[in-house]
Symmetry: C2
Subunit: 568 residues, 2 copies
C-alpha cells in the first residue's frame, strides 16, 4: 500500500515546484494489527521515515468505516438481535460506527462501537437518529470480527435487559422536506437576494488570496480542513499559520457503553475528510468561489473532494459611524467581511467552521455546531439526569464540545512575545494616586515559560501577541494583536479520568508553547483510542524561554450542551 | 410651561383610544433651581401628581444644552482663555457640555462641564475631538453663570499649568470624506446589493409588528429609545416588555476634573432623545421601514423626530444543516433575522442598539459602541497610564461601558420563576453512580428572593425564565427561556466610591426583582449629578416571594475599553 501512495504522490510532486515536499502516510500492513507511519520526501523520491506505532491507532479511514458498517449490517448475531425487535415490514436497521473511545485503555484492538438505528422508510434523508435501537455491537476493524454486543440501558440506572425486547413503535421525527411535505414549512418568508454586479472584491492566484488589505495562502488537509498561511495585512506580517487544532466531545453519561463516548473529531476523523463536497453549490448567498481538496482511497489513489471550502463576502451591518450632533451630518462605513467556510459532517453532527476577515484587521474564527444531537433509546416515560428526552423513547445525552485553535503568530516578524493584560483598580491602597477611588490601570505580564494559563473576567484579562522590538509611533507601546478569547467552561472531568488524560488541552483556555516542527495538534498526533494527551500536555512542560521568540498561542473554547426538545 | 405641555398632550390624546394615557413631565419653574415632576392623566385631563424634587436633577434638555453651549462660547473669561492659545486665524474653539457628574455630592447646582475643542476649518464634519483644548469651564445651567474654569492636567500627574499656554500646533485627525478626499478611501471594494423583489416578510399595523412567528408592539420614548411590548412567538406569550434600562460610563482617570466623568447615557441624556433622525434614510441594506418619535421643545410643544428607528431583514448565513454521510444528501435552512435598530449619538460616542429576532424564537439584544473616543489634551511626548496616546498631544482615557437590560417576562403567563442551572461533575464522590468519573448533571436553583446574582463560567451557569405550571410534554420539565448572558468585568470602582454608589446596578451581572409600576431604570429615575443608585440598589433589597410570581430579570454587561491608536 505505501508503494502505491508513494508513486501517486511523486506524480503529483513532479507537477509542483522544487521546494522539498513531504507527505505523512498512515497505513496498516494487511494481517498486522499495528499502525505504520511513513514520511515520504516526494521531491527527492525517498522515504525519510518508516516506523511502527504498536500502541497507537490511526484516524478512521473511509474504506474501513464502510467495511465495518457492512460487517455489522450483515453479521448473523446482529441480524438475530434485529429480528427480536419485530419491526414492521420494510423497516430496516442501519448503524453508525463510532470510534471506540476509551475503556481505561484495556482494549488495544482497533475497535468500532456500532450504534444502531431503525429506518421505517426508504427516503435517503430519513432521520434514523430519532429511532435508536437498544443494542450496540463492537467490531474489530482489522479482522471484522464481532467482539461483543452491548445492550443499552433503557432506564435511568445502569441495568440492561437480558433480552432485546420487541420495538415499542413510535413515530420518527423527520427533517427532510420530501418526507414532511411542503405544507410543513413556512410560506411567509419572502426572498432576499444578494447581487454583486461587478463581481467579488477578492483576487485569487492558485490558492493565494488577496482581499482588501489582506493577503494569505489557503491550505487544506484531511485533519484540519482549511488552514490559513502567511497572513499579512496592509503589507505587515500578522500570522505564519492559523488552524483549528482539535476538538473533543466528552459525554456526561456514566452508563456503559456511553461512558466511552469521547470523540476527537479532528484527530479521529478529520474536519477535512468529513467535509461536505458542495457539488451542488454551497449554502451561501452572493458570489461564491470554491476550493477543492484530496483524500486517498484504500489503495493510496488520490480522490478529488470537490468544493470542500467556499469563499464569499458578506455585509455585517454598520462598521463605524459618527454623527456631528450640531448639524446632524454623519459619516458611516459598512462592515464588509470575507468568509472562508467548510461544513464537516461527523455522523449526526455538523460543524460549520469559518475564518472571517474584516476591514479592520480582525480575523474571526467561527464554529457553528449544528446537525442532529446524539441520541440514545429509553423506555417510554423514562426521564433521567444524563440527558433530556427529546422525543418519545429518545434521550439526547448532555455533552461538551471543546475546540482548540492554534495560532502561530509572526507579528512584524517571527520573534514575538505573549503577554496578558489585567485591568485593575488602584483602590484605596494609594490615596495620593487615586484620591476619589475611580482610577484603574492596565497591568501587563509577559509569559516567560511554556504552560497553561487562565482567563480572568474580573480583570478583563486579555492575551496579546506583541512584538517588543516594534514600537507604535503614536502610543509609544509595542505593537500587538489581541486574542478576543471565548470564556467557556472547560472539561468537567477530573484529572483522574481518561477523558481528561486524553484531552488535557481541554482543561485550560490558554496554552503557550515554543515553536517546533510537527507540533500542530493539541491532543497529539494519535487520538483514536488514545490513553493520554501527547500534545500540549507534554509540549507545555518544556523549560524554554518564550520572550521575543517563535511562540505559539493555543486557545481552548467550547460549549456545554444541555440538550432540549424542539416540540411543545 | 407645564400648562402648554398639558394642552398639547391632551390634543394628542383625543386622537388616541380610550385607555387612560399618562405623561410623565419633568420641568423647572424659571427662576427656581428645583426640579418638578408631574404626571398628567391625558385621558381624564387631570394632573395626577405634581411634586418638587429639590435634591434631584432631571435629564439634560436640548434647549438648555444649547443655551449652555452658547453661554460658554461667548463668555468673556472663556474668550480670554481662548485668546491665550494664540490660534491661527480662522481657527475657532467649540465645546461639548457634559453632565457635571459627581464630586462627592458637594455641588448641588445644576452644572455642565464644558470640554473645549479646537476647530481649524469650517467643514461641518471637522473632527474637533482630535484637538482638545487645555481648559474646561463649568456653567450653571439655570443662571448661565460661569462657576469656574478647570485647567486640565497635561502631564501624567495631577499638576496643571497656572496659565493657559499657546497652542502647540498639531495636525487634526479627520474622518470626513470631503476633508480627507476620495483618494484616502479604499477603491477595491465592489458593490454588494440586497434585493427583496417581493418586499419584506414583516407586516405592520400601526406600531404592531408581525414577522415569521413573532408578534410584538414597538414602543419608543426619549429615555430608553425603542421598547418591545407584548412579545409572542407562535401564539405563545414570551415577554411583557423588553428594554435597554441604563448605561453608565465611569472613567479611570483620577485627575480632576476627569474623575467626575461618569455618564449615564439613558438617565442623563436618553437613547431616544439622542437618536439619529434618519431623514436621508438609514445605513442599512434591503427594504427598510422607519418609525418616528417625538420630543418636546422648551415650550412643551411636540417636535417630530423622523425615522428614529429602522427595521429590516438580514440573512445571517446557515441556520441549520444536516448531511446524510451515506449519500451526501443535505438539508439546510438559512438564518433570516429581523433587525430593529437605532443609533444614539451622545457627543463623541455612537451607540447602535438593535433588537434582533430570529426564526428559532431567539431574541438578540446587540449594542455596538462606535463613534470617537473621549479625548484629553496632553503635552507632546507624554504617555501615562490613565489612557493611551491616540494622536500627537491627545490621550484617550480608559473607561468602562456598563449596560443594563430589563427583561419583563410573561412566559405562557405572568407568573414565572427565575432559576439558574449549573453543570457540575459527579466526580469521585459517588463511585457507584459515576464509576468512570465522566458523569455530570444539571443542578437547578430557583431564586426565591430579590437580589443580585453572579455568573459562574466554571459551571456554565445559565439563568432561565421558567413557568413552573407549564410542563413540556416531551421533556417532562417546566417550559423555559434561557438568558444567554454576556460575562463581563463589572464596575471596577469599590463600594466606597461615588461611581459605585451612583451605579450599584453595574456591580453585579444578574438582578432579579418583583414587578412594581414605574421600576424601569436600573440606576433609578434621576441619575444626573446623582449621589446614589435609587433603582436596583433599593428594589433588590425588598423581602418578597419571587417563586411563580411577576418577576423581572435584569442583566448588566459591558466592556472595559482600553483605548488604542489607529496609526502605525
Amino acid at each position: 500500500m505505501p508503494l502505491n501512495v508513494l508513486r501517486d504522490l511523486i506524480r503529483i510532486a513532479d507537477k509542483t515546484n522544487t521546494l522539498d515536499r513531504r507527505a505523512r502516510i498512515y497505513y496498516h500492513v494487511v494481517g498486522s494489527p499495528h499502525l505504520w507511519k511513513a514520511v515520504v520526501n516526494i521531491t527527492r523520491r525517498i522515504v525519510e521515515l518508516q516506523e511502527v506505532h504498536p500502541d497507537a491507532q490511526g484516524p478512521v479511514d473511509y474504506w474501513e468505516f464502510e467495511r465495518v458498517q457492512d460487517a455489522c449490517n450483515s453479521h448473523p448475531d446482529v441480524l438475530a438481535e434485529i429480528a427480536k425487535l419485530k419491526l414492521p415490514i420494510r423497516a430496516k436497521v442501519i448503524n453508525d460506527p463510532w470510534a471506540y473511545g476509551t475503556d481505561e485503555g484495556k482494549e488495544r484492538r482497533r475497535l468500532f462501537q456500532c450504534y444502531m438505528y431503525i429506518v421505517l422508510n426508504n427516503d435517503p434523508e430519513a432521520n434514523h437518529y430519532s429511532l435508536p435501537a437498544p443494542f450496540a455491537p463492537v467490531f474489530d476493524a482489522h479482522t471484522l470480527e464481532l467482539c461483543w454486543i452491548d445492550r443499552l440501558p433503557l432506564n435511568s440506572g445502569f441495568e440492561t435487559t437480558a433480552e432485546t425486547q420487541p420495538w415499542n413503535a413510535v413515530r420518527p421525527v423527520e427533517y427532510a422536506e420530501d418526507i414532511l411535505g411542503q405544507d410543513y414549512f413556512r410560506k411567509d418568508l419572502k426572498p432576499l437576494q444578494i447581487f454583486q454586479p461587478d463581481g467579488p472584491s477578492f483576487k485569487i492566484r492558485g490558492r493565494s488570496i488577496s482581499w482588501q488589505k489582506w493577503n494569505f495562502h489557503l491550505g487544506w488537509n484531511l485533519r484540519e480542513g482549511p488552514v490559513l498561511n502567511n497572513i499579512t495585512y496592509d503589507g505587515r506580517s500578522l500570522f505564519y499559520r492559523i488552524s483549528m487544532s482539535e476538538m473533543t466531545v466528552p459525554y456526561g453519561d456514566p452508563r456503559t457503553p456511553y461512558h466511552r463516548k469521547q470523540a476527537f473529531d479532528l484527530g479521529d476523523s478529520g474536519f477535512g475528510l468529513t467535509s461536505n463536497t458542495l457539488e451542488l453549490g454551497c449554502d451561501c448567498l452572493g458570489q461564491i468561489h470554491y476550493f477543492d481538496g484530496y483524500r486517498c482511497d484504500s489503495e493510496g489513489q488520490p480522490v478529488l473532494m470537490k468544493n470542500v471550502v467556499c469563499m464569499h463576502e458578506v455585509d455585517q451591518g454598520i462598521g463605524w459611524k459618527h454623527t456631528n450632533f450640531r448639524n446632524n451630518l454623519s459619516s458611516v462605513v459598512r462592515d464588509r467581511q470575507l468568509v472562508l467556510q467548510c461544513t464537516a459532517t461527523v455522523a449526526n453532527y455538523e460543524y460549520i467552521l469559518a475564518f472571517i476577515l474584516d476591514q479592520t484587521a480582525n480575523l474571526h474564527i467561527e464554529v457553528k455546531a449544528t446537525g442532529i444531537v446524539s441520541t440514545m433509546p429509553s423506555n417510554e416515560g423514562v426521564h433521567h439526569e444524563w440527558g433530556t428526552t427529546v422525543a418519545p423513547g429518545v434521550t439526547a445525552a448532555n455533552h461538551q464540545h471543546l475546540f482548540n485553535v492554534r495560532i502561530d503568530p509572526s507579528l512584524d516578524g517571527r520573534e514575538n512575545s505573549i503577554v496578558y493584560e489585567d485591568c485593575v483598580p488602584i483602590g484605596g491602597s494609594d490615596k495620593s494616586l487615586d484620591p476619589f477611588g475611580n482610577a484603574f490601570r492596565v497591568q501587563s505580564t509577559t509569559i516567560k515559560q511554556p504552560g497553561a494559563y487562565d482567563l480572568d473576567l474580573t480583570k478583563s484579562r486579555t492575551y496579546k501577541i506583541v512584538n517588543p522590538s516594534h514600537i507604535n509611533s503614536i502610543s509609544g507601546k509595542p505593537v500587538g494583536y489581541k486574542l478576543h478569547a471565548i470564556p467557556s467552561q472547560m472539561m468537567m472531568m477530573s484529572p483522574s479520568t481518561f477523558n481528561y488524560k486524553r484531552g488535557v488541552f481541554a482543561s485550560r483556555p490558554i496554552w503557550v508553547t515554543k515553536y517546533r516542527d510537527d507540533e500542530l495538534y493539541a491532543a497529539g498526533e494519535f487520538t483514536n483510542q488514545s490513553r493520554e494527551d501527547t500534545g500540549l500536555a507534554i509540549w507545555s512542560e518544556r523549560e524554554e524561554d518564550l520572550e521575543n521568540e517563535d511562540v505559539i498561542l493555543w486557545h481552548t473554547f467550547g460549549v456545554t450542551h444541555v440538550t432540549r426538545p424542539e416540540g411543545k
